[in-house]
């Protein structure tokens, strides 16, 4: 790790899945309390980075540090304590179908068994209130809309008390109101100095919430900096991604220069 405030760092990370190189020499840092956006087209490897951070995938080479601990070399049974420092909001929310909203949100706390039922109920209530869904406690996930499911996913992440929140396409497939609502939730957590990594290809949300943006193209990091710096860049894939209308055919052919 380059400095003490760094919560997550990936160094020269590469990954091959099903004989396809998904990530190549990725270098990424997320500081404590920072909201980092990972931006890129679909299939560029954004979600894979989140899965590497969670230890769901093991890199072919390189180093991954989370809260000061190297996780790339850990075995599956050594990972749960590290994973409990993080919480992930999955793209499809990934709520447990067989559990109610209350049981989903308090899942980790009940699993850990370190708090009384009343304490957990209180945290569940506060988390659901934070996302504006306090009245859905007894509903099953199947009874919720897409936007509500994502917000319950965020409530589950909040209730876990994790220091690091990871979001996988939190606004994908949502209407503008829900998109704005989830952006606002991320901003409120940012104000509370929660470390957040948000994978998205939604530019408007990205620029609204980001402290720093990491951009990835075909498995390679092509930019790491502030939103203002990204806006000022005018080369290759970055321009094509930010202003797709003028150069969409070029991007679609995959012939755009890397930088």
């Amino acid at each position: 790790m380059s400095d003490d405030s760094c919560m997550i760092s990936l160094r020269d990370v590469s990954l091959t899945l099903a004989k396809r190189q998904v990530l190549r020499d990725i270098n990424l840092e997320v500081r404590a309390g920072e909201t980092k956006i990972i931006l890129g087209a679909s299939g560029s490897g954004k979600t894979t980075i989140l899965r590497l951070i969670l230890g769901l995938f093991r890199p072919d080479n390189g180093s991954i540090c989370v809260a000061g601990q190297e996780i790339a070399t850990l075995r599956e049974r050594e990972l749960p304590p590290i994973r409990q420092k993080m919480a992930m909001v999955f793209q499809g929310a990934a709520l447990f179908d067989s559990l109610t909203v209350r049981e989903n949100v308090g899942y980790r706390l009940w699993e850990q068994g370190q708090m009384s039922n009343d304490q957990i109920e209180q945290i569940v209530h506060e988390s659901l209130q934070f996302v504006g869904l306090a009245d859905t406690k007894d509903k099953m996930p199947a009874e919720l809309s897409g936007g509500m499911r994502k917000r319950v996913g965020i409530a589950r992440a909040l209730a876990s008390g994790a220091k690091i929140l990871l979001y996988d396409e939190p606004t994908a497939g949502l209407d503008p109101i829900n998109t704005f609502l989830i952006g606002s939730l991320i901003l409120r957590l940012k104000a509370q100095q929660v470390t957040q990594v948000v994978v998205t290809h939604d530019l408007e949300s990205a620029f609204r919430v980001a402290d720093r943006i990491f951009m990835i193209h075909k498995g390679c990091g092509v930019f790491d900096g502030t939103p203002e710096e990204l806006r000022g860049r005018d080369e290759g894939v970055i321009r094509n991604f930010l202003v797709p209308s003028g150069s969409a055919p070029e991007a679609a052919r995959g012939s755009a220069p890397l930088v």
Binding site: P81, G92, A94
Partner: protein, 259 residues
């Protein structure tokens, strides 16, 4: 020619890999019993689903099996004037072979495919990843609990099947063949040896292991969205049925060697 040899080798390697992964999953699920948390509540839920939920189909299976055996047995025994011994034939064949195998095949259709489709759905909707992200071992939470429930409940369901089959045979013996009930019940129980009861309980426990582990294996290895869920469910049903029939043969040979 070389290409064909390579394809055969590749195919064989695929089968070896499946056996290796299946063995690993079975070992992990079994070892899961030795480590906390034990998920007792989940085990009880599964026992209820598998045990109480399957009661109706095993009662029907037992009833019709016993009735058919009485009818067919009477036809075979009649030329020798031994119709009154039909209960011997029913009790030994049901307790040693037909009860365990038919009950297991019916339960494989209902429970095994249910386990596979439930876990497969969780796999394709990222719920398995969500479990891992929450610091839960999905094998322990999903496979160990179902393994315990199947190994404990399927022998009990087989006892019910056996009892109902002998009762069904009595209905035909009493009302169709006109056999004295005293003779029927006396010969039904006298024909059984302690060894038969042992075999009749050991086989269903093995079949329970097969049904649970094949279902879990198919579920955990699901790929390809909702189509994959269908494929896994079918594979689980077919594989567990074949494994039940094959293992029945080897278990019978094994017990014969000890008799």
């Amino acid at each position: 020619m070389a290409t064909k040899a390579w394809a055969v080798k590749h195919e064989l390697m695929g089968y070896v890999l499946v056996v290796q992964e299946f063995t690993l999953l079975a070992a992990q699920a079994t070892v899961g019993l030795l480590r906390r948390p034990l998920y007792i509540r989940e085990m009880i839920i599964q026992m209820d689903r598998i045990g109480v939920g399957s009661l109706f189909i095993v009662i029907l299976t037992g009833m019709f099996t016993g009735m058919v055996l009485a009818l067919q047995g009477a036809i075979q025994l009649e030329p020798y004037g031994a119709t009154m011994y039909v209960s011997r034939l029913i009790s030994t064949s049901v307790v040693r072979e037909l009860g365990p195998v038919l009950a297991a095949l019916m339960i494989a259709g209902r429970v095994g495919s249910g386990i596979a489709s439930e876990i497969a759905s969780m796999q394709v909707t990222e719920q398995i990843d969500a479990l891992r992200a929450e610091g839960t071992d999905p094998v322990k939470k999903l496979a160990t609990t179902r393994l315990v429930a199947c190994v404990l409940m399927i022998p009990l369901l087989t006892v019910v099947t056996n009892a109902i089959a002998i009762f069904g045979g009595w209905l035909i013996a009493q009302f169709y063949l006109g056999i004295d009930p005293y003779f029927y019940w006396t010969w039904a129980f006298e024909a059984l040896r302690p060894n038969d009861i042992m075999i009749g309980l050991f086989k269903p426990a093995v079949f329970g292991f097969i049904i649970a582990m094949v279902g879990c294996y198919a579920g955990f290895h699901t790929r390809g969205g909702t189509v994959g869920v269908g494929v896994s469910t079918t594979q689980s049903m077919v594989s567990s049925s074949i494994l039940i029939l094959a293992s029945d043969f080897f278990l019978t040979k094994l017990f014969m060697a000890f008799e």
